[in-house]
Amino acid sequence: MRNIVYIVVQILVIMLVSPLVNGIIRKVKAFSQKRKGAPLLQMYFDLFKLFKKNSVVSDVSSWAFKVTPYIFFSTALAAALLVPVSTIVTPQEIPGDIIMLVSVLALGRFFMMIAALDTASTFGGMGSSREAMISSLIEPSILVSLFTVGLICQSTSMQQMMEAMKGTGIPLFHPVYIMVFLALFTIILAETSRIPVDDPATHLELTMVHEAMLLEYSGRHLALMELGAAIKQLVFITVLVNLIFPHDQLIAITGISAVVLSLFLYLMKVIFISIAIAFAEVFTVKFRFFSIPNLAALSFILSFLGFLQYFVLGGSNV
């Protein structure tokens, strides 16, 4: 029963909130440009429209192209199940940890790159090779920063890490977590094709990374890929907010109202980070493609410094 409640709450919250994150980011960016911008819920409308449409599939593509949207979407959902949105609604045991999280997302990405190569279009191959370069640079720093928190919490399970983080007071007052926070924030920008790395709003195929891989998709398939990417983005945001800004220790009540309050606080944190991402996008410009390793190196150094500081300063009980 507990497991079923967990799965239902988890999937509903992640699926319903993830398009909102994009809406908020786009709205904030529009305000920075003196525009009103698209409605906050625009991505829901887009997805609704796309799900009603048929897909056009190139007749020179193979099975890989057709299965990829389903694989990408399900790996994103599987990743979402590994990262609880609230420590009040938890299963008996999550059969997977942060290593599993990174690998599941890598599986989805692998198929996305294969599918982009599959149609042999001009831009898909470029997108794949760029994505492969960026992800291989970013993955080490994801693992190191999460391992640092894992070391402190004595576990690699996301649920237990979140539980342990509740007892650390305000984590951002501790140098270790400042480093981890900055590293994770950079990782979010890189992993979700945000501006210093990629431009989600561009129409220039030659500069695209993530979008180049989706160019051949349409209709339902495109909707799955878009929603999958949004879910992946929210999973990373959830990791960040629930580790660095734990909130469930503030809730004194129990029962259903505690769950609602916890989810509400979670939503507030997600909105806050979305606005922060939008600001990061407004204040930066797209890097030169070969400067992206510098960004990845920065993220890795930050997470590694955090890792070293754990041994010098210790982690818990600031």
């Binding site: 525009r35 220039l204 996008e281 410009v285 070969f290």
Partner: protein, 518 residues
């Protein structure tokens, strides 16, 4: 031969004329062009053929060299017998001639002997062999067969080298053009641009049309260079008709020409910022461009400045009574532009993107006759408004900004500085313009007269050559827009850069497809 040439040049300088025609034997053409280009250092600025069989049973080829210090166009004319249909190629010595010779070969069937690259330029591979549209006896009504030949692109081979075909239809709302990149990973080894997808036969269309009708055609050569093109056309016709336009009209033309430059440059700045995902600055420039368009709309009722020029002046006194509001608008644009420029120049991430991206070397820029902001960003100090002053530019003071590094940053800076100069010029012109009439109508022109019209369009030197026919018609209209000169320089500037930087470099050049394809 060269001695005689020198004597004639000195005479021309003394008499202060700005077009000097010399007729040369076709065998001597290589020698004399090389002398002019390499010894005297006059760049080849235009080159075109003319079917003069109805006049002298021969084809004529005109080589136009420019003496940019004193403002003289030196035109070497040579007549070719219609039995042979060959001409001596000068491309090996003068690289700027390469595309003109290929153009002449496609449209007239005059084969340049010794040309290093004999492929087609204007006509695509689906055009049947042996059809030359600019010959006078070419029948426009006849339907042609569809030839099915492969387009021959330059091949780069080697381990890991592959080709990226892009276009002709692009993702943005832009004109069509096919780009063939040869790349090794991300770095670009070679780029070839296949243009002429929007070749409309403008030059052919104008032949036999009345001089008034051709004014409308010239306004539609390239959408955002309406005024620069119609101005060049008007200048040529006014020169043939020997009409001196009223002083007030000269000032009004300057105001509109600078307004066009302002909107065009602001559009380029928008594009540069957008391509590096600098949304704030991009929208800021776009807003300013909108203000400039509104100003144009208020002045003449047309944002793209069509129907402003008329043969012999301007259609109406567009500025009278609006001076105060125009000055207010210009000051408002200037203040906002100053703020925006301050912000973008203090953004180090943005400067890092544009600095040292897409460098066009000075020697390549000079050899290929790069014009306009592209040339000025690569150290070529040349502006038609200074070298061949037209309208009221002689009476107005302004600087010509020159930068030397030739990268996107320099091109951007030239454009930013020119925006301010344009604003200043408009303000000065409004303050100092005399009163009076604005039109000295051109009623008729003598047949078989010819003249050049030269303007500095937002993209650079714009040269139109008009030869009149009988009954106030056009016999031959040769249009050479700045984009024709600058397209090959783009292909040089991108070499060694990485593929994701191409859109940015392309935006900093901002070349017109319609203006090139004609």
């Amino acid at each position: 031969m060269c001695q005689e040439l020198k004597r004639k040049l000195t005479e021309a300088f003394a008499e202060n004329i700005n077009e000097l025609y010399l007729e040369v034997n076709p065998e001597k053409i290589g020698e004399i062009c090389t002398y002019l280009n390499t010894v005297l250092g006059y760049p080849l600025v235009s080159m075109f053929a003319n079917d003069e069989r109805s006049l002298c049973q021969q084809y004529a080829v005109y080589y136009v060299f420019a003496e940019r210090e004193k403002g003289l166009l030196l035109i070497i004319k040579t007549k070719l017998a219609q039995e042979k249909m060959v001409m001596q190629s000068i491309s090996a010595k003068i690289p700027a001639a390469a595309r003109y010779e290929r153009e002449i070969k496609d449209l007239f069937g005059l084969t340049p002997v010794g040309h290093p690259d004999a492929r087609r330029l204007v006509l695509h591979s689906n055009w049947p062999a042996g059809e030359f549209p600019l010959r006078k006896d070419y029948d426009l009504q006849r339907k042609l067969d569809f030839a099915r030949e492969e387009i021959a692109f330059q091949k780069v081979t080697g381990e890991g080298v592959y080709e990226i075909p892009v276009g002709p239809v692009h993702a943005g709302i832009i004109e069509p053009g096919h780009f063939r990149f040869s790349v090794a990973g991300e770095p670009i080894i070679n780029l070839e641009a296949q243009l002429y997808f929007v070749h409309k036969g403008i030059e052919k269309m104008c032949e036999g049309e009345s001089i008034e009708r051709c004014l409308y055609v010239s306004e539609r050569i390239s959408g955002d260079e309406t005024l620069a093109n119609s101005l060049a056309y008007c200048q040529a016709i006014e020169k043939i008709a020997k009409v001196e336009i009223p002083a007030r009209a000269k000032y009004i033309r300057v105001i509109f020409a600078e307004l066009e430059r302002l909107t065009s440059h602001l559009g380029d700045l928008t594009g540069i910022c957008q391509d590096v995902a600098y949304g704030f600055a991009s929208f800021q420039f776009n807003m300013l461009r909108g203000w400039a368009y509104q100003l144009a709309d208020e002045l003449c009722g047309m944002r793209f400045l069509r129907s402003v020029n008329k043969l012999g002046g301007v259609r109406k006194d567009f500025v009278a009574g609006k001076e105060v509001t125009v000055l207010e608008q210009l000051q408002k644009i200037k203040a906002e532009l100053e703020d925006t420029v301050k912000i973008i120049k203090s953004n180090s991430m943005f400067i890092d993107r544009v600095e040292n991206t897409g460098i066009l070397q000075t020697d390549i820029a000079a050899a290929l006759n790069a014009v306009g902001p592209v040339g000025r960003a690569s150290g070529v100090r040349y502006d038609v408004r200074k070298a061949f002053p037209y309208e009221a530019y002689q009476l107005l003071e302004f600087n010509v900004p020159v930068h030397n590094n030739g990268d996107v940053n320099c091109r951007m800076n030239v454009k930013i500085e020119e925006c301010f100069i344009s604003l200043e010029l408009m303000i000065k012109a409004i303050a100092t313009m005399p009163n009076g009439k604005v039109l000295e109508p051109v009623h008729s022109v003598d047949p078989y007269q010819f003249a050049f019209g030269l303007t500095e369009s937002p993209r650079g030197e714009n040269i139109h050559w008009v030869m009149t026919g009988e009954n106030n018609t056009i016999f031959r209209y040769k249009i050479r827009t700045p984009s024709f000169c600058n397209w090959p320089t783009l292909c040089h500037a991108v070499k060694g850069n990485i593929v994701p930087d191409f859109p940015l470099i392309n935006k900093s050049f901002n070349l017109s497809y319609a203006g090139n394809d004609l």
